[in-house]
Symmetry: C2
Subunit: 120 residues, 2 copies
């Protein structure tokens, strides 16, 4: 019999993309648009979280360190340990800035802002 686990350590990138993200107060802050992968270090750079905008127009994006995303089965989404104010004050980028060649700069700023130890 296969082991049934709802809180697994392995997750497919295609399942992560599109998942909702909530803050500590349970408010929806957006959804995961993409996940940036690091070729050099085998590390997951960050999740790209989209918020605001309408039909993609005026939408802004955050880079949030992967290790900060905690999946909660009850909510069916990820919870990040920040208030709405903390998230609103975080660096924002265009989708091209985050998923382009220069993602490392956004990664560094994000790990710095959220005070997460670099994996690299």
């Amino acid at each position: 019999m296969p082991t049934v686990s709802r809180h697994t350590d392995a997750i497919a990138a295609s399942r992560v993309i599109g998942t909702n993200v909530y803050n500590t107060a349970g408010e929806s802050i957006g959804s995961i648009e993409d996940v940036m992968l690091d070729k050099t270090s085998n590390g997951i750079m960050f999740a790209v979280i989209g918020f605001g905008g309408f039909l993609g127009i005026g939408e802004k994006y955050h880079a949030i360190p992967w290790s900060l995303l905690d999946y909660e089965v009850d909510k069916g989404g990820y919870v990040v340990p920040f208030t709405k104010e903390q998230l609103e004050a975080a660096p924002v980028y265009s989708i091209n800035e985050l998923t382009g060649a220069d993602g490392t700069r956004a990664r560094d700023a994000s790990y710095d802002y959220y005070k997460v130890d670099p994996y690299w």
Copy 2:
């Protein structure tokens, strides 16, 4: 001016998925179906490569360590340093086995088969 780099260290998961994979002889061996992410270690577990089958029926999947995929601009795809015979003899799985909760077992077998040092 932004730095133009065609061989970047950062790549979006959504762009990786669907990319063709070739072996050392330049033969197409399939395409990347998904990328498995590790919650525990911030590491990229492996790429899921589909080959064979027809319209998804009878298709088999390999787990290939992320660090073995080298993007070649000329081919517009990834090249893995193996012969067709080596790849055919590698462990195969169903898509559910690779992207489900039990991906760790396939990861371990894959790193062992391809002689890649564990990142975890």
